[in-house]
């Protein structure tokens, strides 16, 4: 692909601006960055507006902006499950997470595993929750790099070989440096710039493409029938309907359990801020839904058959559909803005994810098992170093492991993280469950879920046979049901034999 100089210049300018903001952010609402909750939670004092940008920038990642339209582009209507998924996450956020905020604020918990440790007094269960969060997030960070790689490649920079990897290395060194020095304040401030760029880009696409095509009618008319709707289920099966519904519901249950989501929630200044945001964050869902349709716009414009994009599709397959559409529709300078939005959109979640996993490792592995007497300074220092290691790991992963593995691990990550629902979410409401019963429930869901995904050739939906009908179900959701069943049965036994309710360090009033 030819080098797109105009786009590249705009891109570099915006990237430089964001770098400056990242380093400057450490001085914003100044706190003692040698304390873990200051570095890793921004001092828990983000109000409604900052939290909106932070969680929005955190959940709606660069990878989302590339992959969701790419899924519609490639697979059609099933890819739209991202919309019902994001409709269902906000009732969860409103009802459940202010409770988690409240108990964590009361006891100074920084991670969900901190809460589990306090609630169940079981360090091994807490370790399981912590490690699940870390391994589920790692491939997610790696995928953020994919989004960045695609737009860098689209601007005409060769992205293979050592010199091809260089732009990505530079971007990540910058990211690592400002995360290290400013902590969570950096992505919070950068998220404001990122989101404005993203909104501008999406609305430009949503207006420009239908105008170009003469309305949405001709655009949808150009979509093949098979892609426009879900396939009607065959007799004796729920077919694509249950696949669509369980993918949406399972993803919704899993989302706020990821360490980076929890970090976003806990950094807000009150439960009320979390509730307000449950009503305000759907603005991002609307944008995501509109952006998903960009995948159809790419079909309608016919980017796949344009000769100038052939190398891009060869290198990045369907993930190239969004960049290709932007290049086909917009002047070069605006392509620079759009691509910068996507690349910066990768930095924000990557920073928050690395901070969240660093918090988790430091609190629930290092302080719990390795150095229980560490000082506050040692604790925050460890977290800063781990955040560097995690980013380096993601970079190595992207360079040396085929992309397909990152996608598979990301799918497995969803199956894994949902197994923490009984300990963290149900644990907010009841102490019926025994700590060890939750551990074995987690083990069953994690182990059998992983095995099923492998057995299913890495497809997320497994055709369950229930009473003679076929019910294609998202594996994560089916394994959550298994997990809860195991934990319930074992709790009845364990509570009778070795009750552990006295280990609970929280009180009913903490959950206000």
């Amino acid at each position: 692909m030819p080098l797109n100089t105009t786009a590249l210049v705009i891109f570099v300018i915006l990237f430089a601006l964001v770098t400056f903001i990242g380093f400057f952010a450490g001085r914003w609402r100044r706190g003692n960055l040698d304390l873990l909750h200051e570095w890793g939670l921004g001092g828990r004092r983000f109000g409604t507006v900052v939290t909106w940008f932070l969680i929005g920038g955190d959940l709606y990642t660069a990878y989302t902006f590339i992959a969701v339209p790419a899924l519609l582009f490639g697979a059609g209507a099933i890819g739209f499950f991202a919309v019902p998924y994001t409709v269902m996450i906000y009732p969860f956020l409103y009802l459940i997470f202010p409770r988690l905020w409240s108990v964590c604020h009361k006891h100074g918990y920084v991670t969900s595993a901190d809460f589990v440790r306090g609630r169940y007094g079981n360090r091994w269960l807490a370790l399981a929750i912590a490690l699940t969060g870390i391994v589920a997030t790692m491939p997610y960070i790696a995928l953020q790099l994919v989004g960045m790689q695609v737009v860098i490649g689209a601007m005409g920079i060769e992205t293979s070989g050592f010199f091809g990897d260089l732009p990505l290395i530079i971007a990540f060194v910058i990211l690592a440096a400002f995360t290290y020095s400013s902590g969570l304040r950096a992505p919070a401030m950068i998220a404001v710039v990122k989101d404005m760029l993203i909104y501008i880009t999406v609305f430009a696409a949503i207006i420009a493409v239908p105008v170009h095509m003469g309305g949405f009618g001709p655009m949808f008319a150009a979509i093949p029938k098979a892609k426009l709707l879900l396939a009607a289920p065959p007799a004796g099966s729920w077919g694509s309907f249950s696949a669509y519904a369980t993918l949406a519901l399972g993803s919704a249950c899993a989302l706020f359990l990821y360490p980076h989501s929890i970090t976003g929630i806990l950094s807000s200044s009150s439960g009320r801020v979390v509730r307000r945001n449950a009503a305000l964050l759907p603005a991002y869902s609307l944008m995501l839904g509109l952006l998903a349709l960009v995948g159809f716009m790419a079909i309608a414009i016919g980017v796949a058959t344009m000769p100038q994009f052939a190398p891009g599709f060869k290198a990045y397959s369907n993930n190239f559909s969004v960049p290709a559409l932007f290049m086909a529709m917009f002047p070069d300078w605006f392509v620079g803005v759009a691509f910068a939005a996507i690349a910066i959109g990768a930095l924000v979640p990557a920073a928050i994810m690395s901070i969240a996993t660093a918090n988790t490792y430091t609190r629930n592995v290092y302080r719990e098992f390795i150095n229980p007497n560490c000082t506050d300074l040692q604790e925050s220092q460890m977290a800063k170093i781990v955040s560097l290691v995690i980013k380096a790991g993601a970079l190595v992963f992207i360079f040396f492991v085929p992309l397909q593995y990152a996608l598979w691990l990301q799918l497995l990550g969803g199956v894994w993280i949902i197994q923490t629902v009984p300990s963290v979410i149900i644990g907010l409401y009841t102490r019926f469950f025994h700590g060890w019963a939750l551990f074995f429930g987690w083990l069953a869901g994690f182990g059998i879920g992983t095995w099923m995904v492998l057995l299913n050739n890495y497809a997320p939906v497994y055709p369950l046979k229930i009473l003679g009908t076929t019910f294609p179900c998202y594996i994560a959701l089916a394994m959550l049901v298994l997990n809860i069943a195991v934990a319930t049965v074992l709790s009845l036994v364990f509570n009778a034999v070795v009750p552990d309710k006295s280990h609970d360090m929280t009180q009913a009033a903490d959950y206000a």
Binding site: A77, V83, V87, G217, A221, L230, S242, A279
Partner: protein
């Protein structure tokens, strides 16, 4: 009461209002109710505009529950 106290006052949970938050789940999980092209609006098939509309309805319901519980 200072603003800070107001922010940290425990929420007054109103059950009937909270039950409204079941509606987005019912609507979105009932896939067969919206897997159709007609009725189209402005050339957009039902399947797409209906689900996008639920993003707005969902947000409005949450805002309503928030207002009731304040």
């Amino acid at each position: 009461m200072s603003d800070h106290d107001n922010e940290h006052r425990p929420v007054r949970r109103v059950l009937w209002a909270r039950l409204l938050l079941l509606l987005p789940f019912i609507a979105m999980l009932w896939v067969s109710s919206y897997n159709s092209v007609e009725p189209m609006v402005a050339g957009i098939p039902f399947f797409y505009w209906y689900q996008l509309l639920w993003v707005l309805i969902g947000a409005a319901l949450i805002a309503f529950v928030y207002a009731v519980e304040r």
